[in-house]
């Protein structure tokens, strides 16, 4: 009897491990055609330049800001100096209580314009619209506090372009990021949304909104996150392009078709507005039965600020995880539903079983092994083999992603940086990963408590002028 229970637990753990890592391997394989495509795009780069670039559709860059006095100016400066002809920058001051707005007013010489933008999406009341005397492309909206998603909806109302890009107020957009997205926009039809890579700005040198030198952050958690971000963004997201579209376009940097977003009712006022929006877009397009593309572009870059302290990171991860569970719960009817095709059979089950329940299974495995060891029934030899295989798989994925960033992003390229990243990949499984598992388990249980919709203010470690 006991043996059967143990056997089934063993088989469950082993098969979960094999299926999940097999899927990761599949994603890594599917990344290769995308890389080949990117190589072709780079080769054809000169031909793109031969064309006049002003035939691409215009883009609005929407920057919601709530108490972001440290970074808002640098972020807006970076957005205003992108290498692209048709764009407008819309900054939304979401009822900040610090001097975010007065900084903007004095720096850009804002003057009020009457409220004449049609309100397509419902938002918290807008107080004033401002334009800048220095930059005609800048529009600042001052509204009452309603959350990040509400602020983006207000920006969508004011935008005049068919596409918009949402970036955070603590992020710096790379000057050629939009050109990269536009190249993709000109080679595929029916683009619904596109995502880009988030790189970590901590430790880099920022001058006037430009990253002049990319360096790894000095702290342990910072460097760990650089390695983690490269891994998630490269092999974890690019492969999805071939599997029916990315399951998550990050709110930190994503380009959306405004019409499609308006059709699904804008961003929902909840924690993971970006994840919810992506799933809603998939759902809406499947219901409309129209072809659509939700792609992820790995070499359009936005630099962002990440928490450097233990408590700040813990808060962020708990929030992310409870929001993943939240979105899966909202869209539970889509799971294994023929109506939604590949999204119902792959995307949502992956979000739920791979992302949502993954840490629970992993945490349970740790406890289970500890118990087995305690009672002396652990097969030590097999245990070591298993650990080595698991360690090797995750290390391989990380190093493969490091090579991809070296070839395509060319940000961390000195051999010292690469050796450091390989070393961090080496120790990740024993130091950083158990920590994230613990945070994500906490986040999972936070979903069932009442304060799951709380959004904490991130501790700023960065101050850029």
């Amino acid at each position: 009897m006991n043996e059967n229970i143990f056997l089934s637990i063993d088989l469950f753990l082993l098969s979960y491990f094999l299926i999940l890592n097999g899927f990761y391997g599949l994603l890594l394989i599917l990344t290769n055609p995308e890389l080949a495509r990117r190589f072709q795009e780079i080769k054809a780069n000169e031909s793109y330049k031969l064309l006049l670039f002003n035939l691409v559709p215009p883009v609005s860059i929407i920057i919601p800001a709530y108490n972001e006095r440290e970074t808002i100016l640098a972020s807006v400066t970076a957005a205003l100096q992108i290498e692209f002809s048709h764009f407008e920058v819309i900054v939304i001051d979401d009822g900040s209580t610090d001097d975010t707005f007065s900084l903007l007013t004095t720096t850009y010489q804002l003057f009020p314009v009457p409220p004449v933008f049609p309100s397509i999406l419902q938002t918290a009341p807008v107080k004033h619209y401002y334009r800048s005397k220095l930059y005609p492309k800048l529009l600042v909206i001052q509204k009452e506090n309603g959350g990040r998603e509400d602020a983006i909806n207000a920006g969508i109302n004011a935008s005049t372009a068919p596409f918009f890009i949402g970036i955070d107020a603590d992020s710096f957009i790379e000057p050629d990021a939009i050109n990269r997205l536009m190249q993709h926009l000109l080679t595929k039809r029916n683009i619904c949304a596109m995502g880009g890579t988030l790189c970590i700005v901590n430790g880099c040198t920022v001058k006037k909104g430009k990253i002049t030198e990319a360096k790894l952050p000095p702290s342990f958690l910072g460097t760990m996150q650089v390695v983690e971000y490269i891994k998630t963004f490269f092999f974890g997201r690019t492969g999805w392009n071939k599997l029916g579209g990315s399951p998550l376009i990050s709110g930190g940097f994503g380009l959306f078709n405004k019409q499609a977003v308006i059709e699904v009712g804008g961003l929902k006022k909840m924690l993971a507005g970006d994840l919810e929006l992506t799933v809603l877009l998939h759902k809406h397009m499947h219901e409309k039965k129209e072809p659509y593309v939700i792609d992820y572009m790995f070499d359009a870059i936005v630099w962002t600020d990440v928490p450097q302290t233990y408590s700040g990171l813990a808060k962020q991860r708990k929030r992310w995880h409870s929001s993943v569970i939240d979105v899966c719960w909202r869209h539970r009817r889509m799971i294994f539903n023929f109506k939604y095709g590949v999204v119902g059979f792959l995307h949502i089950p992956y979000l739920l079983l791979g992302e949502g329940l993954g840490p629970l299974v992993e945490g349970f495995g740790y406890i289970y092994i500890a118990c087995c060891f305690f009672y002396g029934v652990l097969n030590i030899t097999f245990f070591w083999y298993f650990i080595l295989i698991a360690w090797g798989v995750s290390m391989f994925l990380t190093i493969a992603s490091v090579i991809m960033q070296e070839v395509f992003l060319r940000k961390y390229i000195s051999s010292r940086q690469i050796l450091k990243m390989v070393f961090f990949a080496f120790i990740e499984n024993f130091t950083y990963r158990p920590l994230t598992v613990w945070w994500r388990i906490e986040g999972f249980f936070r979903f069932f408590t009442k304060n799951r919709f709380m959004r904490e203010k991130m501790d700023r470690s960065l101050s850029v002028k």
Partner: protein, 366 residues
């Protein structure tokens, strides 16, 4: 190896797996393979940057030598041979940027001759072959080559590329075709334009406008003969930037067509041509039930500075639709002093007042 039977084979003691049949050797081999792959990748990560920079440097050196030779040939008026360029570098993405650079540096009839012979002998054959390639990145190279130097002999290939599935190849091919400006090319562009949606047809229009002037005649002929509303719409959209009296007459026929888009295009076309004759039909459209028609007619009248529309335009300020109010107010501002006076008057309606104040702050000539 004996203690496996006692301790169980997996994490815990389990009967089914507790045999020594469990394939440990395979796992050992897997581990060896895995870690050797990791080792190879680590080394690759370390050497790839120096290697790639070394090779790109060497390629650039060779291309620089080629460029130098070309410049010497152009100055000394001698024939140039491509023998010095290794076959690996005889590719469109390498050669065309160099040509563009030399174009910026010297202006010389001899260079034009050399350039033409390089295109005829080397680049056009490559591009013609790449036209039928299955990779879009190669088709885009082909079209880039055709775009750089337009030649009637490539018409067949350009027309083939115009029906491509990748938007940017299509747009570039439209540019080439518009540069040639033959009747077949113009009609093919219009046919492609008919098939596209609102955003995607814009580049075709730009292409035709920047292309050869002879294309406008063919467009006018097509507008006169074709009865298909979509084709008429496409023609009118292009011709509205190149108006004459005949086109204005043709456009006036479409003001009350069943298709709304065609009506809008016709109003726009009339708005681009200064002719007092067309003011009256446009003013009549300000009372149309469709709000888009009202808005665009108001905008057209503003461009035409039609003073007789003053009272009708000011009544548009009370329109329920925001866009109509906005365009009406903008048109009033464009009319000049009279219109601005109208805007400065106190409006009884609150929304009308708001829009009038906003428009007065705008700089409409920016």
């Amino acid at each position: 190896m004996e203690n496996y039977q006692e301790a169980g084979i997996f994490f815990a003691q389990s009967a089914a797996l507790s045999t020594s049949l469990f394939p440990y050797e395979i796992i050992q081999w897997l581990l060896i393979i895995q870690f050797s792959i990791i080792g190879v990748h680590t080394i690759a990560a370390l050497v790839s940057t120096p290697l790639s920079s070394f090779f790109s440097k060497r390629r650039e050196q060779k291309l620089a030598i080629f460029k130098k030779n070309l410049l010497i040939c152009a100055r000394e008026k001698t024939e140039c041979s491509l023998a010095r360029v290794p076959p690996r570098l005889r590719k469109i993405p390498f050669l065309i940027p160099i040509m563009l650079q030399i174009d910026g540096e010297i202006k010389d009839p001899n260079w034009d001759r050399i350039k033409k012979s390089i295109f005829q002998n080397v680049l056009f054959p490559i591009a013609q072959k790449l036209t039928y390639s299955r990779k879009w990145a190669e088709r885009i190279q082909a079209v880039g080559c055709f775009l750089y130097l337009s030649d009637k002999q490539n018409e067949k290939y350009i027309l083939h590329l115009l029906g491509d599935s990748i938007p940017i190849v299509q747009y570039s091919a439209a540019y080439c075709a518009a540069k040639l400006g033959t009747s077949e090319c113009v009609n093919a562009i219009i046919n492609e334009m008919n098939r596209s949606n609102r955003f995607l047809r814009h580049p075709f229009r730009e292409a035709l406008l920047k292309g050869d002037d002879s294309s406008f005649e063919f467009l006018e002929a097509r507008l006169e003969q074709d009865a298909d509303p979509v084709a008429r719409l496409s023609c009118l959209e292009v011709l509205s930037h190149h108006m004459n009296a005949h086109i204005a007459d043709l456009a006036e026929r479409d003001l009350h067509a069943p298709s709304k888009n065609l009506r809008i295009a016709a109003i726009r076309a009339l708005g681009h041509y200064f002719d007092p004759k067309s003011h009256r039909p446009l003013i009549d459209l300000l009372k149309d039930p469709e709000w888009e028609i009202r808005a665009i007619a108001a905008r057209a009248l503003g461009y035409l500075k039609a003073q007789e529309a003053l009272s009708e335009l000011s009544s548009l300020l009370k329109d329920p639709v925001w866009w109509v109010r906005m365009n009406g107010a903008l048109a009033l501002k464009r009319l000049g002093e009279e219109g601005i006076k109208k805007l400065q008057q106190r409006q009884e309606n609150q929304s009308a007042d708001e829009i009038a104040r906003y428009v007065l702050t705008l700089n409409i000539y920016e």
